[in-house]
């Protein structure tokens, strides 16, 4: 069997940064704009970008149903920042439609505007394999009120920044903007 193919939703956002990260963990990045692009993918990434722009594109391309089926079929999805918002059950502060894959409430731009963007290491006490991960937050959301099936894998200053429910991962930061590939590796492991 060859290298796994990992799709990246390519409507808008930092698609290229995710593609580099996907290559970095030995997989092949695939641009996804149509339902047929999902064929044969081991996993899917919903990148950072603007969630309103990405959801409008999903409306236009009719991608809500195909992406929901992709997740329901048991294939893993990683959403980062805007992508994490798309995976939340509910959104507050300028709501957008979501895929509702993870039982959390996303609050958009929860830290403020770009002048409040920052980088920080994960708190001690989270998942061992992510210890010391340095997270870059860009106009980041927060994921609040996680339901009973949601596991918080990492926190920064007490806030959940990486959560998992089943084979879905949502990060409020941008693992694709660092050289640390541990989050992308985790996604690939969920595909096995």
């Amino acid at each position: 069997m060859g290298s796994p193919r990992v799709g990246i939703l390519a409507i808008q956002g930092d698609v290229e940064a995710h593609a580099a990260a996907v290559r970095g963990v030995g997989a092949i990045p695939v641009r996804v704009l149509r339902e047929k692009d999902l064929d044969g993918l081991a996993a899917l990434i919903l990148p950072g970008g603007e969630s309103t722009t990405i959801t409008k594109g999903m409306d236009r391309l009719g991608l809500w149903q195909p992406l929901a089926e992709f997740a329901n079929g048991g294939r893993p999805i990683l959403g980062t920042c805007a992508g994490a918002i798309l995976m939340a059950r509910e959104v507050e502060h300028h709501p957008v439609q979501t895929l509702s894959l993870i039982d959390v409430t996303a609050r958009r731009n929860a830290y403020g505007t770009q002048v409040d963007s920052f980088a920080a290491q994960v708190d001690p006490g989270g998942a061992d394999r992510l210890s010391g991960f340095r997270c870059v937050f860009i106009r980041a959301p927060q994921l609040r009120r996680p339901g009973p099936e949601v596991e918080v894998l990492a926190r920064v200053a007490g806030e959940a920044v990486l959560v998992q429910q089943g084979r879905c991962l949502a990060a409020t930061f941008h693992p694709e903007l660092s050289e640390d590939r541990r989050v992308h590796r985790l996604l690939l492991e969920l595909a096995d």
């Binding site: 808008q12 930092d14 502060h93």
Partner: protein
Amino acid sequence: MQDQNNGNGEARTGAQAFEIKVGLAEMLKGGVIMDVTTPDQAKLAEDSGAAAVMALERVPSDIRKDGGVARMCAIEIIEGIQRSVSIPVMAKVRIGHFSEAQVLESLGVDFIDESEVLTPADDAHHIDKAPFRSPFVCGARDLGEALRRIGEGAAMIRTKGEAGSGNIVEAVRHLRQVIGDIRTLAAARGDEIFARAKELRAPVDLVRYVAEHGALPVPNFAAGGIATPADAALCMSLGAEAVFVGSGIFKSEDPAARARSVVHATTHWREPGEVLNASRGLGAAMEGIELETLAESERLANRGW
């Protein structure tokens, strides 16, 4: 003195701060940034799928028509636009006017455009952009100008094009120039970097970065004269990573349809059939200016040093 820190993160200086500024530019890739002058226009832009808006008092074609000194936008207009949308809000300052930039930073503007569209405040110096928490975007016509701006701290480069002209020719020229210069530099021998830096009038370390990576260290967007979905697709095809549309949206017959179609073409620039679909039923584009009729003194792209 202590560096600023938001309480739960790292100090916001040096390479880390730059990475966070460039991070927002990364998030805007593949998107359209639209000039808006009112909260209603900003809402329309957001509803059409804009990745960000540029708040200003007059779009460039009106600045060109009205004449006089063009300055930073009135604060109330920016605040109204910030309240009306959730996407990033950018605003322009005059070249070299660091006090205007400090005002916009205090206002929490997401990106500051040190722009040749406004009347320059300093005929020798651009703003020292590195100490700011707000990221900056600056215009460039060639690689040397782009690297001088990055050396000053710009986190995004855009072509200057010729703003408010509705004519894509200058943006195409600047895009081909910057990318052509990068290609030439990437083929240079290591010991030629110093002479190239001198020719480009750019910092040696940045010239070396471009030679080694074959790319700028920050995203490279197109601006200045984009008026149609095909204009956006052309810029993306030539290597722009996102597009700014100034007068092109709200000076056209049907701004909502045109805004949606430019967004559509920017996402699907690789698919001519989709650019075709985006080009239907738009009504009239903004009226353009044949650049031969514009005197050198009227060309905004000549501002900046």
